[in-house]
Each structure stands twice: as C-alpha cells, then as structure tokens.
C-alpha cells in the first residue's frame, strides 16, 4: 500500500511522523517535498532524477535503518521533475516492498495533491493549534476527494492535555498524540527511529499504534 503523510501547514512535523511510521511499517519512506526536501540524502540519484526520467526508482532507494527514497535539493531539479511520473515510480517499488510512505509537502498545490491521488490511505499531521487544524481540515477534504481515506491523525508536539475527543470529532478519524520532545525530531537526521531508540516512550507507542491502524486499513482494502 501507499500511505501519504500530509497536512496543509508547514513545520508541523510531517517528515518526522512519516519517517517513524515508515520504521514501524518496515516501509520505504519517500521524500515527496520536491521543493524543500527534508529526509536525509546521500550520493546517488534522487526522486528529482526519477521524476525527470533520468533514474530508475530502485536506483534511488538508499538503504538504512529506514530505507529512504530521498529528494534532491536543487531548484533546477524541482523544476525538471514531472509529477505525472510519481504514480509509476511508486507503484514500481510497491510490489517488492509492500508499503511505501510518502512525506508530502505543505500547501494545496499539485505537489501536495498528486501523492494523495496516488496513495491508498492518508495520515494527517497537525500541530495542536486551532489555525493548524483549519489547514488539516482542508487537506482531509482533498484526501477524501482523491480516495485516499484518512487512517488517522497525529497531533504532533503536544504539551500537556489535548482535547483529542474534539479533534477526533472535527476530523472524523482516530487521533494519536506525540509529545513535544526534541529527541523525536532528531530521530530523522540521526536516522534512528523512535521505535528502535525508545520503543516504550509515549512517542514510540503512538507511532506503533498509528502504524497498526494503517496496516488494518490496508487489510480492509
């Protein structure tokens, strides 16, 4: 299955959530933010090259604690990338890997919409603030229109008690909360998933539970 990790607003921690859910699902995580890549990259081809028809998707997958299909950092690469090739790229690695998690960019343009059109399910990421929830609602509507049903919502960087029941009824999907802890954010650049480094932590169990929900969604399809 292809899972999109999305949320209208930037800086809410989509990349962190995508990386850690991919770890829990043993999936390949794809950096779909063509203009502002976040996942660690290395030498070799990137998603920019794949979408420009210069590289095979398998060539661009980089092995690690979580296998990553990184994205290039150049504006020229972002301009040369054809979003129309994303479906073909993802479906070509899906049969062998089983699960693919796409870290979507912020906003409501085509680069955020196409991964949703390609995905089978979506996990929404929201910051625990009212204005961030408005963006999340818009992304949820788009995901529904594009048949990428919402498997759940991750409320990220939560401090104190959250009215999760209210969020659940507003967004119509199960909610997991990840506490505000800088170590969660470091898990991406250190390439050390929370479920490995601190499996019993609040964040670790939240990612595990969300991955279970996603896996159940995929079984029901």
């Amino acid at each position: 299955m292809i899972l999109a990790v999305a949320g209208g607003k930037g800086g809410v921690g989509k990349t962190t959530v995508a990386y850690n859910i991919a770890a829990a699902l043993s999936a390949v995580v794809v950096d779909g933010d063509l203009g502002m890549a976040n996942l660690p990259t290395g030498r070799g081809p990137t998603l920019h090259d794949v979408l420009a028809g210069r590289a095979d998707p398998w060539e661009a997958v980089r092995a690690g604690p979580v296998d990553v299909l990184p994205c290039g950092r150049s504006l020229a690469g972002a301009r040369a990338a054809e979003l129309g090739r994303l479906r073909e790229a993802l479906t070509s690695i899906e049969p062998e890997r089983g699960s693919i998690v796409v870290d979507c960019p912020a906003g409501m343009r085509a680069d955020a919409g196409v991964p949703l059109a390609v995905a089978d399910a979506t996990v929404l990421v929201a910051a625990p603030e009212p204005f961030a929830l408005a963006d999340t609602l818009r992304t949820r509507e788009l995901a529904r229109e594009l048949d990428a049903g919402v498997a759940g919502v991750v409320l990220n960087r939560v401090i104190g008690e959250m009215p999760t029941a209210t969020v659940r009824s507003a967004l119509g999907a199960p909610v997991e909360t990840v506490p505000a802890d800088p170590r969660v954010g470091y898990s991406v650049c250190a390439e050390q998933p929370v479920i490995d480094a601190a499996p019993d932590s609040e964040a670790g169990t939240a990612f595990e539970r969300m991955a279970d929900r996603v896996a159940r969604c995929s079984e029901n399809q």
């Binding site: 063509l34 203009g35 504006l75 020229a76 972002a78 301009r79 990338a81 979003l83 129309g84 994303l86 479906r87 960019p105 906003g107 409501m108 343009r109 085509a110 680069d111 955020a112 919409g113 196409v114 949703l116 059109a117 390609v118 594009l146």
Partner: protein, 251 residues
Amino acid sequence: MELDWETESVGGITLVSVRLTNERAVDRRVRLRNRLDGPVLPPRRQREPEAGWDRDGLTAVVPSERTVARGYACPAPNREPPVEIAAVSAPAEMTGAGEAVKDVIRDLGDARPPRAVLGEDPVFGGREPRERDQSRQNSGQPGNAKDRGSGPIEGTDQAESAPKADLPPDFEDGLAPYRRRIETVEALGLASVSEATTLLDTNGGVVGVERLGKQLDDDAAALRTLAIEATALAVRARTATPPVDALRRLV
C-alpha cells in the same frame, strides 16, 4: 455524429474549431483525427493537456442529442478538411489512474519553482524569459556554457538571423581599440613562452597586462551597452517608415 469545423490561420499556426453533434438518443464516444501536417497543440491547464487530447487528435464523449465544441492549434498550413472522425463507439470509462493524477495537476496548479528563480542565464536570470527564449529552449539547443560565458545580449538572436551588412568605416575605426585589446589578451593565453615575453614587453610588463585585464571588463560593459542601443535603434529603423504619400499630398 455530425462534424462541423472552422479554421483560422495566424502566423503559420492554424486554429481549428470543431462542433460535434450527437443526434442519437445515447451518449457516444468519438475519436477525431487531425489531418493537418503537424502535431496537435491541445488546450492546456497548468501545462497539462486537457483530458482526451493527444498528439494526433481528441477522444471525447458527446452526450445524447447534444453538441460539444472543442478546439486546437496546429503549426501547419490550413487544408480542408482539417479534421476527420476516425471512430465512433460506445462511451467507455475515460478516467484511468493516470488521468486522475493529471486532473489533480490541472485543478491544483503547478507547484514547480518558476524558471526565473533558477538564475541560469546571466542576462535573463532576473525575470521570466520571453517567447523568443522559450522557442530557443524548446528547440532542444539550450545555450551551452560557452554561449553563456560570452554573455548573450538582448536581441542577438534577431541580429544573427538578419542579413549581415558591412560596418560603416566610422564604426569599424571606433571598435578597433577594443578589438586590439581583446586580441592581445587572447594571444597572451595561447602564446609560447618567448612570444609571451615579447607581448609582455610591448604591453608594459605584468602591470600593463593587469591593467589591460581590468580595461577588458569596462570594454565588455561598454560593448554590451552599445549592442543594446544598436539593437533598439535597428528595431526602430526597421519599423519606422516616412509617410511619403501623405507628405507628397502636402507639397
């Protein structure tokens, strides 16, 4: 299925307007084939062709007892008929998986960074290139590094395509010092040790050559300004025509 068309030719491009009328009581799918001697340039949104269009024509579903209108451009001379019905069949599902992605791009809009921010071209880097630049890029011959190094100057494409005339002697004399300085510096790069020594002696040693190098920067700026001025004047010269007939009536 009734096909009705109109054409209009503008600057080597033929615009074809088509009306398709389905007189039957059921929806029907029709395949239109372009008969003009060139590729179909379909209507696009966000750079993505509208659904149903391809290089050779259009596949569209016409609802029962309705008329639909479509149109395209083709870079070829007009001929009649410009378009024909290739096939009519029962309407099948037209929105495949690939079409869903294209729909998203058309509806949500292209998110790619504009060309202007790439700063690839030292002259046009600050703004979106105009049509002429695009035609050069589309021709599959983007300006190579050497071209860029020599600094493309606005209007040079036009100047190159225009027939070349000899420079008037005054201009030739005015350019001579520039040409001499450039040729000297170029020769220094290619010369053998003994030739370079002679060139150094005649040009005031290393200090003189350094001064020459700085002078070349000013020369490049001056020549570029001259080229821009000259191009602007050439365009005005080509478009300005004296109203001879009107003046003759006055006399």
